[in-house]
């Protein structure tokens, strides 16, 4: 009998400890991603008086904060090109035209023949067709042996190159220098005319090499 009484006295204490433990865990989880959750973590074990409401629910929309984007401001910044070719502009270019663009804008950093000038990477070189990069750190990754999508080349040159004046090349110049680099890497012929359609159709040698992340935590190291 006495033993049972002692247990019943301890029960509220145990419950309080359990609550405290849960709240600590919640605090350690940093309140999750929601601001409402962060507010709840601050209440501690004090409890809520009758004249204090719980934290407000977030509204479905914070109408009035932010505005509808203007079509032209979206267009000005929407510069990306995806693997299907969405985002590629009108225009066309060839290896011969690209050779001139390359010599004028690119060779100073990447070398006369795309061989790279440290620390700037080489752009040309189709070695290591067997994709042995993990086994040999000396192998050089290039457009020809590592880049899985040709559209990426247009996207990157257009957004970030030339390094000192990105965005200064016309669409035709970008198509041309992409044609030059792909041909120098043996991916396309020197006669190929690159435009939105033909560029999206280019299949890069390394295309099938990429796999999604299969690491999953746990004891097995992948």
């Amino acid at each position: 009998m006495r033993r049972r009484a002692a247990l019943s006295l301890l029960a509220p204490l145990a419950a309080a400890l359990l609550v405290a433990a849960c709240e600590l865990r919640d605090a350690q989880d940093q309140g999750g991603g929601s601001p409402a959750g962060a507010g709840q973590a601050q209440q501690g074990g004090v409890g809520r008086p009758a004249d204090v409401d719980p934290p407000t629910e977030l509204p479905r929309s914070f109408a009035g904060i932010g505005r509808v984007a203007r079509t032209e401001e979206v267009r000005a910044w929407d510069i990306d090109v995806n693997p299907a070719g969405v985002g590629l502009p009108p225009g066309r270019g060839t290896h011969a035209q690209g050779a001139r663009v390359y010599a004028q804008h690119c060779a100073v950093c990447h070398g006369a023949a795309g061989e790279g000038v440290a620390p700037n990477p080489p752009l040309v070189g189709a070695g290591s067709g067997d994709f042995a990069f993990a086994n040999d750190p000396k192998l050089t990754k290039t457009l020809g042996n590592y880049w899985p999508y040709a559209t990426t080349l247009y996207d990157y040159v257009n957004r970030a190159m030339p390094f000192v004046a990105p965005g200064s090349l016309t669409a035709a110049e970008v198509y041309a220098v992409v044609a030059y680099l792909l041909a120098e890497n043996g991916v396309i012929g020197k006669e190929t005319v690159l435009d939105a359609r033909s560029l999206a159709a280019v299949r890069m040698p390394a295309r099938g090499r990429f796999v999604h992340d299969d690491r999953a935590g746990g004891a097995v190291f992948r």
């Binding site: 991603g33 910044w77 993990a134 996207d155 990429f210 935590g217």
Partner: protein, 409 residues
Amino acid sequence: MKKNELLSRRAMIAGAAAAAGGALLKQVVSAEAQESPGAGDPSRAPGTGTTAVGARSAFENPARSPTGVLSGSSLTPLQSLTGTITPGDLVFERHHSGIPAIDPSRYKLVIHGMAARAMTFTLDDLRRLPSVSRVHFLECSGNGRAAYRAPAPGMTPQNVDGLTSNGEWTGVPLSVLLREVDARSTARWVLAEGGDSNKLSRSIPLEKAMDDAMIAYAFNGEPLRPANGYPARLFLPGYEGNTCVKWLRRLELVDQPNMSKDETSKYTDPLPNGTARQFSFLMDAKSIITSPAAIARVERGWMEISGIAWSGRGRIARVDVSTDGGRRWTMARLQEPVLSRAHTRFRHAWEWNGRATTIMSRAVDETGAIQPTRAAFRATRGPGTDYHFNFIRVWKIASDGAVTFEGDA
């Protein structure tokens, strides 16, 4: 003033001058010339007045390691830090086209694509929306590459792992913004793009964007520093640093990854089987002893072995320390609170007997992932793998107490 006192004071002045450079030297020397009554004994004369912005002690000189290259990095001096929080001015840098100067009054973030409406938010808009503050690490996934490919005895914790920093990020949950634009159910990815001249772009799974992604505008209680994305950046807890796009100016809801330069030709992991792992966002469980470490010299007797451990998958569950080359391990004490996807300080009291040995730490995270040895890492990922170098870091202690980085273990 006795001769010994004068000597030690001169040594102190020389030390301070070496640490702080010429401007300070001038001040200190002129202070000495005055020979005020309490000179050399701070308890015998008033000190200096209050200041608008605090400076470090002239005797402390923690520094990053800038290279001067616009597309390069500058590493956090891990050996100079205690606890878990990285001061804002020592957070590592990694830029791809230098640091842009962005006027906060002209800043805007455009969100568009597969959504009911395209919207533009100013910095004031972002600050008006509900915010969260969370302590997390930010780590470049190339961290540890030099220690893997070209280890050298003189490498310090900064040289080995200085591309990680940890602190309190404050910003708007991205889920709040995506609700404002009313993302369509067909959207699967979010393309994030910076406003620097590289316009760095990465594709983020929508699931992550809706989970715990934030548009961060502050770090450790103050606005982001320019080198770390001022005025606003994407922050993705546990993800490789490159995805946490700085100077964020555009988010596009899309149904497939963009296959941008930094998610194809870079930030992918060639494997020995002739494939390359892509979208390997999460940082693996990892740790490093930051003291003692190269290029310190230790003395026989008791010392504290201390370091940091972290995992992109959650909390650190355990850190083991070995002081005998990895034969026996002892559980280190973890500094509470142990936060998810944050640097966790571990400590281990050790009495060194003066014999040459190696010391190392091994992190275990809450998923059970164990930091692998260098040999196991090499066997699984290959000598030429490019990112996510989470192998065990080993320090060698010579019989004279000299500590060096051990790259062969």
